[in-house]
C-alpha cells in the first residue's frame, strides 16, 4: 500500500470533482446549500448550457447597456418559516437582491418580483409578504416595477416562493469584482456574523436559546455608498448569505488566486451565536447572514474605510478580521485563539448538525 501512496501524490490545490455529479442522478438538498455541490451544479450543468458570463460568477453581473454600466441580479427565496424574528421572506426577497447589486458597487433602482403560490395558502399570508416587500423597497429607495404570479397544486409548494431580480447603476470608476483581491488587501467584515442563520434555526427547529435572536436582514447599499465615498477602489465585496463567511471568503480567494489569512479572535461572533453553534455542533463561519458584508480593501485605504463603516448604522460593529497573502493561494487559513492554524474550507452542501 505504501507504494500506491507514493505513486499517487496528493494534490489538494487543484482538486475538483473529476466526474461531475457522478454520484447523484437526482437533485439533493446539498445542491442548494451554496457550497461545493451548488458550485459544481453551476459549473458542470448551467455554464455549459448557457455559456460563461463575461463578468465571471459574481453576486451580480455588470453589463454595458446604452453607455451605462448596469448591475443585474436575481435571487429566489424558499424560506421556511415565512415569518421569523426580525423579518420575513418579503424582507429577504427585497434586501437580498439589493445586496447582490450593492456588492458590485451599484446603486439599486428597480426590482421585479415573481410569486409561486401554493393552492390553499391564506390570502392574509400572501398579503403580509407583499406588504413587507413594499415596506422594504420603500425603505431602500427602490421600486418594484414588474411582476408575475403562478399558482401550483396544493402540496407542490411551501405556501409562498418569491423570486426577485434587480437593476442598478454602477458609478464610473467603480470596479468591484471577486477576482480583484490582491495580496496585502485588508479583509473587513461589517459586523456580527451568524445572526440570521441562528434566528431562523431557533424558530424552524423550535430551539429556544434563552434569549431571542433576531435576523439581521438589511439593505446594504447605503453602507457600500459610504465606503465608496472614501475610495472608489474597493477590490471585492460579498454578502455572506448561505454558506456563511467561510464560503464567501473561499469564493474570493479562489477567484483572485490569493490566500486569505484570518485571525480567529478578531471575528465578531456574538455570544448567543457562539453558544447556539457549540450546542448544535455548527461553526459560526458557515452560518448565514442577511445584513452583513465582507470587503477586500487596499491596505492604504483600510483605516479610512473601516472608520466610515463604523460611523454608519449598518457597520457599527465592523472589524478587520484578516488580510490577503501570497502564500497558500486560493485557501483560507485561520490562526486560532491559541495560536494554532486550521484551513477554513468551502462546505460541501448543507451544514449538518453534529451528533455530539
Amino acid at each position: 500500500m505504501a507504494e500506491a501512496v507514493d505513486a499517487q501524490p496528493l494534490d489538494f490545490e487543484g482538486w475538483a470533482c473529476p466526474v461531475p455529479l457522478r454520484d447523484s442522478p437526482t437533485i439533493v438538498m446539498g445542491h442548494g446549500g451554496g457550497g461545493q455541490m451548488s458550485a459544481e451544479l453551476i459549473e458542470h450543468l448551467f455554464v455549459p448550457a448557457f455559456g460563461s458570463s463575461p463578468g465571471g460568477l459574481a453576486d451580480s453581473a455588470v453589463v454595458e447597456l446604452g453607455g451605462a454600466r448596469i448591475a443585474f441580479s436575481t435571487d429566489t427565496f424558499v424560506v421556511r418559516p415565512l415569518f421569523f424574528p426580525g423579518g420575513s421572506i418579503g424582507h429577504l426577497a427585497v434586501n437580498g437582491t439589493i445586496n447582490d447589486l450593492a456588492m458590485s458597487g451599484a446603486t439599486p433602482a428597480h426590482l421585479s418580483c415573481g410569486f409561486v403560490l401554493e393552492e390553499g395558502t391564506e390570502l392574509g399570508i400572501v398579503g403580509r409578504v407583499a406588504s413587507d416587500m413594499g415596506a422594504a423597497a420603500r425603505a431602500a429607495g427602490v421600486t418594484i416595477v414588474t411582476g408575475d404570479t403562478k399558482v401550483v397544486d396544493s402540496g407542490h409548494g411551501d405556501q409562498v416562493y418569491v423570486n426577485t431580480a434587480g437593476l442598478g447603476l454602477v458609478p464610473s470608476g467603480v470596479d468591484i469584482r471577486p477576482d480583484r483581491a490582491r495580496p496585502g488587501d485588508v479583509v473587513i467584515v461589517s459586523g456580527a456574523i451568524g445572526v440570521h442563520g441562528i434566528a431562523i434555526m431557533s424558530v424552524r427547529e423550535g430551539l429556544g436559546f434563552g434569549s431571542e435572536i433576531t435576523s439581521d436582514t438589511a439593505a446594504l447599499h447605503p453602507l457600500v455608498a459610504a465606503m465608496l465615498a472614501v475610495t472608489p477602489d474597493l477590490h471585492a465585496l460579498r454578502d455572506p448569505t448561505r454558506g456563511g463567511l467561510a464560503t464567501s471568503l473561499n469564493e474570493i480567494a479562489t477567484a483572485s488566486g490569493v490566500g486569505v489569512r484570518l485571525v480567529e479572535k478578531a471575528i465578531p461572533v456574538p455570544a448567543e451565536v457562539g453558544n447556539a453553534c457549540s450546542m448544535l455542533g455548527l461553526d459560526p463561519l458557515y452560518v448565514a447572514n442577511e445584513g452583513k458584508l465582507v470587503a477586500f480593501v487596499p491596505r492604504e485605504h483600510s483605516d479610512a474605510v473601516l472608520a466610515a463603516m463604523r460611523a454608519h448604522p449598518l457597520g457599527g460593529g465592523a472589524a478587520i478580521i484578516g488580510e490577503c497573502v501570497e502564500d497558500h493561494p486560493s485557501m483560507v487559513v485561520v490562526t486560532t485563539t491559541f495560536g494554532g492554524t486550521r484551513v477554513v474550507d468551502t462546505p460541501l452542501g448543507e451544514q449538518l448538525p453534529r451528533i455530539c
Binding site: C17, D345, G349, L352, C356
Partner: protein, 375 residues
C-alpha cells in the same frame, strides 16, 4: 449564556502547554477516544502546539463513523418505505450505505427528518398515528440515555407506531479491542469525558491494570484537552499507569445513577459490529426483551440484510490508530468528503475528513510544505 469562555482562555492554555513541553522527554502515542475531542484538537490547532514527540492518534469515538455499513443499509431500506417517517441526527444523512445515502432516499421521496432529540421523534409519532415513526438510535453511552428514555416513554404512553433502529456502542470494550491488537501503538488514552459523566469511571481500572496503560478522563474544551494531555504525559514520563480524572467538574466516579438505571432497564449488552473494525464482543447495546416491540430491525424484518465493507477502504486501521488517514491509497483520490468510501471520511469528526478538511498531512514533504506556506 456564558459558560465556555473560561475553558478557552489562551493565557491558561499557554501555562498548560509550557508544563507539557517541560515534561515531555521522549516520544509518546496517545489516543483520544472521542470524536468530539478529535474535532476540538483540529479546530483549535492543538495538535500543532503540543511537543512534536507527542502523537495524537484519533480513536474510534465518532458514532457516525463506526456505525456498520450493514446497519446503514437497514436504515436505507426502512426509510424508503412509504409508511415510514425516518428520523435521524443530521450527520447520519450523508453516511454512505451500499451505493446510496439517506439524502438520496429523501430525494427519491423518502420522508426523512433531521431531529435534535429522540423525544422529538416520539412527539412526531404521537402527532402522526397513521405513520410509522422510526428513530435512528446511534451513538456511545452519551446518546444512549435520551434514546432509552424515548423508548421507555413510548412503552409507558403506549405509542405503538414508534420504533428505534439501535446501533449503540460502548467505549470500554473498544479500548480493550485496541489494546489486544498485535500492532497496537497506543501508550495512553484520553477517555471520553461525557461517556464517563453517564457511566462513571469504574469500568476503566481493570483496563489500566490489564494493559498497564494510563487512562485519563478528559473533557472537550481546549483547556480540558490540554489538561488531559498534561495529566497523561506526567504519568507516561514517570512510568506510571492509573486512572485519572481530569474532568472532575462533569464526571463523578459513579456517573449518573438515574441514567444508568434506565439504560439497564431498556438496553441489553450485545456483540456489535464496528465499521472497518469488525465485531467486538459485548461492545454494544440492543433493546432488551421487554422493549423488543420497539426494535425497528424486528418490526420491519430487516435482519436478513448483510453487507460487506469496502475492500479498498482502510478506515478500520485508521480507527485503530494503525495508519494515518493519508497512508490509505484511496485517501484524497477515490475517497473524499464528496464521495466517502468509509465513514471516517463522512463526519467532520471522522479522522479522514478532519485530515482532508484541514490538510493535516504529516508526511514529511507535505507537512513541510504546509508549514512553509502558512508560517
Amino acid at each position: 449564556m456564558k459558560y465556555l469562555d473560561e475553558f478557552n482562555d489562551p493565557e491558561l492554555a499557554k501555562r498548560l502547554l509550557d508544563d507539557i513541553h517541560a515534561t515531555v522527554k521522549q516520544p509518546w502515542a496517545i489516543m483520544e477516544v472521542c470524536g468530539g475531542q478529535t474535532h476540538s484538537i483540529i479546530r483549535h490547532g492543538i495538535d500543532q502546539l503540543i511537543p512534536d514527540q507527542v502523537e495524537m492518534i484519533h480513536g474510534p469515538g465518532c458514532p457516525v463513523c463506526v456505525t456498520p455499513l450493514e446497519l446503514i443499509d437497514k436504515a436505507l431500506e426502512i426509510a424508503s418505505r412509504p409508511e415510514v417517517i425516518f428520523c435521524s441526527f443530521g450527520d447520519m444523512l450523508r453516511v454512505p450505505g451500499s451505493g446510496r445515502d439517506l439524502f438520496r432516499v429523501k430525494s427519491e421521496g423518502g420522508d426523512i427528518r433531521v431531529v435534535y432529540s429522540p423525544l422529538d421523534a416520539l412527539k412526531l409519532a404521537r402527532e402522526n398515528p397513521d405513520r410509522e415513526v422510526v428513530f435512528f438510535g446511534i451513538g456511545f453511552e452519551t446518546t444512549a440515555p435520551p434514546n432509552a428514555m424515548a423508548v421507555f416513554q413510548a412503552k409507558r404512553l403506549g405509542v405503538p407506531n414508534f420504533s428505534m433502529l439501535v446501533s449503540h456502542v460502548r467505549v470500554p470494550p473498544a479500548i480493550d479491542a485496541i489494546m489486544q491488537s498485535p500492532a497496537c501503538r497506543v501508550q495512553a488514552f484520553l477517555a471520553a469525558g461525557h461517556v464517563c459523566s453517564v457511566m462513571g469511571t469504574q469500568e476503566y481500572p481493570p483496563l489500566v491494570e490489564r494493559y498497564s496503560v494510563p487512562i485519563v478522563v478528559t473533557g472537550f474544551e481546549p483547556l480540558d484537552i490540554l489538561e488531559g494531555i498534561r495529566h497523561t504525559v506526567h504519568q507516561l514520563e514517570r512510568g506510571e499507569s492509573y486512572l485519572d480524572n481530569a474532568y472532575a467538574r462533569a464526571v463523578p466516579p459513579e456517573g449518573n445513577l438515574a441514567a444508568r438505571k434506565l439504560l439497564s432497564e431498556v438496553f441489553t449488552v450485545t456483540d456489535r459490529g464496528w465499521r472497518g473494525i469488525g465485531v467486538i464482543p459485548d461492545s454494544g447495546w440492543r433493546l432488551s426483551e421487554t422493549y423488543r416491540d420497539f426494535d425497528a430491525e424486528y418490526r420491519f424484518q430487516v435482519g436478513d440484510i448483510h453487507t460487506d465493507e469496502s475492500a479498498v477502504c482502510r478506515s478500520g486501521e485508521v480507527l485503530q490508530g494503525l495508519i494515518k488517514p493519508h497512508e490509505c491509497a484511496a485517501f484524497g483520490t477515490q475517497c473524499t468528503p464528496r464521495n466517502p468510501l468509509g465513514a471516517t471520511m463522512v463526519s467532520s469528526e471522522g479522522a479522514c475528513a478532519a485530515y482532508y478538511l484541514y490538510r493535516r498531512l504529516n508526511t514529511p514533504s507535505t507537512s513541510q510544505r504546509e508549514v512553509a506556506s502558512i508560517g
